[in-house]
């Protein structure tokens, strides 16, 4: 089925009418869809079949975004568009206007260069009506994209969509600003990837949800702390941040170390930032709902946001559970889950979870689940999970709703309450070494039941059978020593936290002004011989070189010190 219209929406008339009425009823913003069309997706070193296919994949990926209405101008004009591109006339406003026929607002053009280690793609959203400014962006993609056309198209579509929406609302989508893991020390050299898109290379200090962090030949492990759990990320490893407390270890080694008790001052220090957000959950949900107004889940939750009662949330959730299986909510959810992990719904769920595990949504869901283990909601969500043949989802189930820590590798899934655990995935073999704590291990590629591992146990699997062994005490000792060395609490605990008084209070600090303007102000007050400090936790800099760009008192001589001006 053609997911996007050629010249007009290719839907049965009655269905189109129904959609239109639904859209009008749900939200007026549905009318504000941006009509776009892919003009071409040209990749250096690829033949015309690939280019044509990539343009199609890009269009399809864009069509999944409910904020865009995608037309297929290439269907009838592919040859002409390619010729115009080759002769450099594709950006001609007259040509674009003639092509669009008042239907398409933006023509999307993708031109990729093949570099040594990546594709660098210049993305342009050309104004089809008139000669307005084009929206431009750059996508860096792995060379693997040359073989994975569909994913390449999705990566480009995500970049286009972000650019178009950012331009539309003059702000970044909410999901891009939330749920970002901050590394205590940046991983370097490292690479941050979402799908096939390279988000950053070199030094990586932040890991947004749904991205993959590849740490290359780094000098040593780096630590990430989520609440009171420290993840130790090792060199030559790759991790995907799927959901809060859910990490995928693609290759390499991952250490997990439970931190100090959350009730202690150190624990409060670590979790303060998350606690601060608890009041913002509903605001965030509302914002997210606004991003995709046709999404019924967020529509429903959006209504909940206007209420402020724990009971009402439960009521809403229970009302949802009472709906039948043909309910549009579950259809929507099912559709959403069938999409990839960068999907809005999943990412949003995860972001909400990232804010605070004690927030009302999770409490509410928890209570619903405790009411009845066969609750309709859970069963429905379970059904949703089975919609996708991907075994990860079926294994994952509703782990996101649990207060457990989850690590996935291509061969097994580990969940539980680890205190000191090392996981490795090398080739096809995944290994978990439990020094302290308890975890459940389940191979992903067979129907073997999960096995429980206590302290001083090792589990190993290629995805089918599970081999359980004792952990060598010498090995355990070595692991604990290594963890002790890497424990972020040890090295970073400032002695200030032991001092009394408000000024030494733990937790997030007050908002500080932008670092650059603070240093600018400090620079100006150097003229008064002041050494003003810059209050910011961002990367610090050296102060200006003395002797250059100096002004004020430093440069005003003392004429009246002249001896011939002294005296009566």
């Amino acid at each position: 089925m053609n997911p996007f219209p050629e010249a007009r929406p290719n839907l049965p008339r009655s269905a189109a009418l129904l959609v239109l009425i639904s859209a009008l009823w749900l939200c007026p913003r549905a009318l504000a869809k941006v009509p776009v069309s892919v003009l071409g997706a040209y990749v250096e070193g690829k033949d015309s079949d690939y280019v044509e296919g990539l343009a199609w994949d890009l269009s399809q990926a864009l069509a999944d975004d409910t904020a865009l209405l995608v037309f297929d101008l290439r269907k009838k004009n592919a040859g002409y568009l390619d010729s115009a591109h080759a002769s450099g006339r594709l950006r001609d406003p007259k040509l674009l206007a003639a092509l669009s026929g008042d239907r398409v607002k933006r023509g999307l053009l993708m031109e990729c260069q093949e570099l040594k280690e990546e594709y660098r793609c210049f993305l342009e959203a050309l104004e089809m009506q008139g000669d307005g400014p084009a929206l431009k962006d750059t996508l860096h993609a792995l060379l693997e994209a040359g073989q994975k056309r569909k994913l390449f198209g999705q990566a480009a579509a995500a970049t286009f969509a972000r650019k178009l929406k950012a331009n539309d609302r003059a702000t970044l989508p909410a999901q891009d600003r939330l749920a970002v893991l901050k590394l205590r020390t940046p991983a370097r050299p490292a690479m941050l990837i979402r799908g096939l898109a390279i988000l950053s290379k070199g030094s990586v200090a932040e890991v947004p949800l749904g991205t993959t962090l590849v740490i290359q030949d780094a000098p040593g492990p780096v630590a990430v702390s989520i609440e009171n759990v420290h993840y130790l990320l090792y060199p030559h490893s790759s991790y995907t941040y799927l959901l809060p407390k859910v990490v995928q270890l693609n290759e390499g080694t991952l250490g997990i170390l439970k931190g100090v008790d959350s009730a202690s001052i150190e624990g409060r220090l670590r979790s303060a930032a998350a606690l601060d957000q608890s009041n913002l959950i509903w605001k965030t949900l509302t914002k997210v709902a606004a991003l995709d107004t046709s999404n019924l889940i967020w529509k429903g939750l959006g209504r909940v946001t206007s209420l402020d009662s724990h009971n009402l949330i439960l009521k809403n959730l229970q009302r949802i559970t009472s709906l039948d299986s043909s309910n549009v909510l579950f259809k929507t959810l099912g559709k959403a889950v069938a999409l990839d992990t960068s999907n809005l719904v999943l990412r949003t769920l995860a972001q909400v979870a990232a804010l605070d595990t004690s927030n009302l949504i999770w409490k509410g869901l928890g209570q619903v689940s405790s009411l009845d283990s066969n609750n309709v909601l859970w069963r429905k969500l379970g059904e949703v999970a089975t919609l996708d043949g991907n075994s990860i989802w079926s294994k994952l189930g509703l782990l996101a709703f649990q207060d457990q820590l989850v690590v996935l590798t291509p061969s097994f899934i580990v969940r539980g309450q680890p205190q000191a655990v090392l996981l490795r995935h090398d080739g096809n073999v995944s290994t978990v070494e439990v020094v302290k704590g308890n975890v459940n291990v389940q191979p992903l590629l067979s129907s073997v039941e999960p096995a429980t591992l206590g302290p001083m146990r090792v589990a190993r699997t290629r995805g089918y059978a599970l081999k359980l062994e004792r952990l060598n005490p010498m090995r355990a000792d070595r692991l604990l020593r290594e963890f002790d060395d890497l424990d972020p609490n040890k090295g970073s605990r400032p002695f200030a936290i032991f001092l009394p008084g408000k000024l030494f209070g733990a937790g997030a600090s007050l908002h500080t002004a932008d670092r650059s303007i603070q240093s600018f102000v400090a620079g100006e007050f150097q003229a008064l011989d002041m050494e003003t400090d810059v209050l910011s936790s961002e990367k610090e800099g050296w102060s200006e070189f003395p002797g250059t760009l100096r002004s004020g008192a430093q440069e005003a001589g003392c004429y009246l010190c002249s001896p011939d001006r002294l005296g009566p």
Binding site: P186, R188, T532, G541, T548
Partner: protein, 389 residues
């Protein structure tokens, strides 16, 4: 009330206001803390050449204690204490300023857009000079002086400034203006004077390119009249115009900073002298012009240590060609993390120069320790750019 007492009262008032404010605590709970940094620094500079037989070598030693705190969600404050001792050829005794108080406060008027600052100098224990010291003082303060703080007098002064910032795409632009009024300097018995007030206009543009960061600074300092104790204008200081470009790049463990700039200062104009005949214009005081380069190489072998080499070559000349020379400063710095959050930094410099047939050779050190309390934070490592870069 003495200036020191007023400062104390002011500080206490700030602290109490900070303690009383609840806007943030209501929203975020009681754990929100005030970010602050306390730092101490020591500078010593010693001029080995030119040497004058039988006299000690000129030197300058300075100590600074500073405390900066964000005690309101929209404002931050600084209090500092400067002690400095300077000896130049010709002084009977070194000129000492044992205690000069620095106070400054900044507010964010429009978030991320507009800011204002007010600050000043209050000499608590001011230095004294004798009339015999005036010639060496005049010679030290006019023309070339290799000291890190050539103008070592600290008269009481007040500066008020407004700043603006606007960021768009890869560009960040900042601009501001400041007015500084200095009050009577009483360090010279019988010859007190008002140093020139000035008006500063400055701007900065930063462009984050794909390969590197580019930064352009411009500054114009417009000086008023220097006046005698009776507020009679005696001398108009030449304005100062400065321009600088910086290229900043950081790659894994290494960072580069290259720059070039120039500072032009038209001649000072003296007061016309009333003689019995017609008014006769006094001679102009030519000022020195500067053109300089900046180069720094930063290296971070491990997250806890940072090294930096810098070279600052400078050409010095006057427009009438009577004076020309150069100055070159070379330095090596090391920065260390202490207890993760806090910092120790030290710099050693060698300064060489020549002007008017005199050779200059000086050695300096700068050391500082910063005790930082910035709340929950994620410290970054790696090559550090110049501030604001």
């Amino acid at each position: 009330m003495k200036p020191g007492q007023s400062a104390l009262v002011w500080t206490l008032a700030l602290a109490s206001v900070a303690h009383a404010q609840t806007a943030d605590s209501t929203e975020y709970g009681k754990e929100r803390s005030y970010p602050w940094i306390a730092h101490s620094s020591l500078d010593v500079f010693y001029l080995h050449t030119p040497a004058e037989p039988g006299r000690p070598f000129p030197y300058q030693a300075s100590l600074y204690q500073g405390f900066t705190i964000q005690s309101l969600s929209f404002a931050w404050f600084h209090i500092g204490l400067r002690s400095r001792e300077t000896y130049v050829y010709g002084f009977e005794d070194p000129y000492r300023e044992p205690m000069v108080l620095k106070l400054q406060g900044s507010v964010e008027i429009l978030p991320d857009l507009a800011y204002a600052s007010l600050g000043g100098n209050i000499p608590l224990l001011a230095g004294k000079l004798s009339v015999e010291d005036t010639l060496p003082l005049y010679q030290a303060l006019n023309g070339y002086d290799p000291f890190p703080s050539p103008d070592f007098l600290s008269p009481q002064a007040l500066q008020i400034a407004v700043f603006g910032r606007y960021a768009w795409a890869n560009w960040t632009a900042m601009a501001g203006s400041a007015y500084v009024r200095e009050t009577l300097f009483r360090g010279l018995p019988g010859a007190s004077f008002y140093p020139a007030a000035y008006f500063d206009l400055f701007g900065r543009a930063i462009f984050q390119g794909a390969a590197a960061r580019h930064r352009i600074d411009v500054r114009a300092s417009l000086y008023g009249d220097e006046e005698n104790a009776d507020r009679i204008p005696a001398h108009l200081e030449g304005n100062l115009y400065q321009l600088r470009y910086e290229w900043l790049k950081s790659l894994r463990k290494v960072g580069w900073q290259l720059g070039a700039g120039a500072a032009g200062k038209p001649p000072d104009r003296n007061r016309r002298i009333m003689l019995k005949s017609d008014l006769v214009a006094a001679a102009r005081d030519e000022n020195l012009q500067r053109a300089y380069g900046e180069a720094a190489l930063t290296w971070v072998p491990s997250p806890g240590i940072l090294w930096r080499l810098h070279v600052l070559p400078k050409a010095i000349f006057s427009w009438n060609g009577e004076q020309s020379g150069y100055e070159a400063e070379t330095g090596i710095s090391v920065g260390l993390k202490v207890w993760e959050y806090h910092r120790v930094r030290a710099t050693g410099t060698v300064l060489m120069g020549a002007l008017d047939g005199k050779q200059y050779l000086g050695f300096g050190i700068h050391a500082e320790f910063a005790f930082r309390h910035l709340g929950v934070q994620d410290l970054d490592d790696g090559p550090e750019p110049a501030e604001g870069g």
